[in-house]
């Protein structure tokens, strides 16, 4: 029975079905043996779900956001800034939250033992970064533009160039792992991972915007990628 003095914390809104990928998506071969077959059980959001790790400063070092300055020399490829705001579904900034990212080098090769793609490694590029969002939810990375790479999902399969992103948000419910793509990539149509997001407007949210105003002349191009985490259900006060 409910406690009379209990003020329930506000749960996070769930999403429309086509805005998130399904778990069973046969055109993406790896889902065949890894996606659950049983329906998901609805879990009402309690305190464990509505709280989450607030890692604070110290997890991201001063240079962790700059993937071009991790080695003795500079990496090959197009220098780019990738920046944006982390917001919730009501447009409010998500402050002081950890953003982690990883990517291939310019040739499309991951610095990971499992990547056997015959493209060269870059001795001056590892490909992983971390940053905290500021008081307005802003983050910024300096990196080089990743390359597309082949994979074995289907004949002549290629992943469009992308950067992996991981975000904690403010609660377990808001945790998001996603991928950022680049505008006008000719490989979109044949990529089952990108196309697993069935709603076209939602799919477009995964594509960064080239931002000429944010480029640094003679130094770096820039892409803006805002990330929207789940927002709250309306509280009674907002309805009044």
């Amino acid at each position: 029975m409910a406690r009379p003095d209990w003020t329930p914390p506000v749960p996070y809104r769930s999403h429309a079905e086509d805005e998130q990928p399904p778990l069973q998506w046969p055109v993406y071969g790896s889902t065949t043996l890894r996606s659950p077959r049983q329906p998901l059980v609805v879990l009402p959001q309690g305190l464990t779900e509505l709280t989450g790790p607030l890692l604070g400063e110290g997890r991201a070092g001063a240079l962790d956001h700059d993937l071009t300055r991790q080695h003795e020399g500079e990496p090959q490829g197009e220098r780019i800034e990738v920046f944006g705001r982390v917001l919730d579904g009501d447009g409010r900034p998500v402050r002081d939250t950890l953003v982690e990212m990883w990517q291939t080098n310019a040739a499309g090769r991951y610095r990971h033992a499992g990547d056997r793609h015959p493209a060269p490694l870059d001795p001056n590029f590892t490909g992983a970064g971390r940053a905290m969002t500021d008081g307005e939810g802003r983050y910024r990375f300096v990196t080089i533009k990743p390359g597309a790479y082949p994979w074995r999902n289907h004949h002549n399969a290629w992943r469009p160039a992308h950067i992996h992103f991981s975000l904690f948000g403010q609660a377990f419910t808001q945790r998001l792992v996603t991928q950022m793509y680049f505008p006008n990539d000719p490989l979109f149509d044949q990529d089952p991972i990108f196309n697993s997001v069935r709603d076209p407007a939602a799919r477009q949210r995964l594509v960064a915007a080239f931002d000429l105003d944010a480029t640094t002349p003679e130094w770096s191009l820039a892409y803006r990628f805002d990330i929207v985490l789940r927002g709250r259900d309306a509280t009674p006060m907002e309805d009044a």
């Binding site: 769930s14 990928p21 890894r34 959001q45 309690g46 499992g114 992996h164 991928q179 985490l229």
Partner: protein, 182 residues
Amino acid sequence: MTTPSQTVGPFFALGLPWSDGPYAVPEDAPGAFWLRGVVVDGAGEPVPDALVETWQADRAGRFDHPDDPRGAVASPGFRGFARCPTDPEGRWAIRTVRPGPVPGPDGTLQAPHIDVSVLARGLLDRLVTRIYFPDEAANAGDPVLSQVDPIRRQTLVARESDDGLVFDITLQGDHETVFFAF
């Protein structure tokens, strides 16, 4: 409109693991034990490229978080969050303590539990499950466990081992772990 999820992919070891990732608590914290498991797929094969993350309250059932209506409580040395990639045999392990009971949405106490996120190549969205504790009287009245088909409830309860507890995660098939949506 929320930014959609995409798979974590096979190469997250480049960016996500932390050297202190598996430690929700320091190694020598009072009451600390190892919580281990194996992640397997629908063919019963180990998943060597999964990432397991856990989140929980401290031993008193408190969170250090502004959205806890009871007030945020920081336990020195307690992080409550752990992250561990699976090894080539699909094994993961975290160091933690048994959480105290935590109120559910209506304020009644739930049985002690740990929330789990599972990420991997082949998963287009994170999977969420819960770990409940063996020999825990409160499990019988837990509102979440009560919603689960009785035949599948056991997939949510850890079992005892030599140095702590074991919780295996079966992504698909016979004895498929219960996963949640919210």
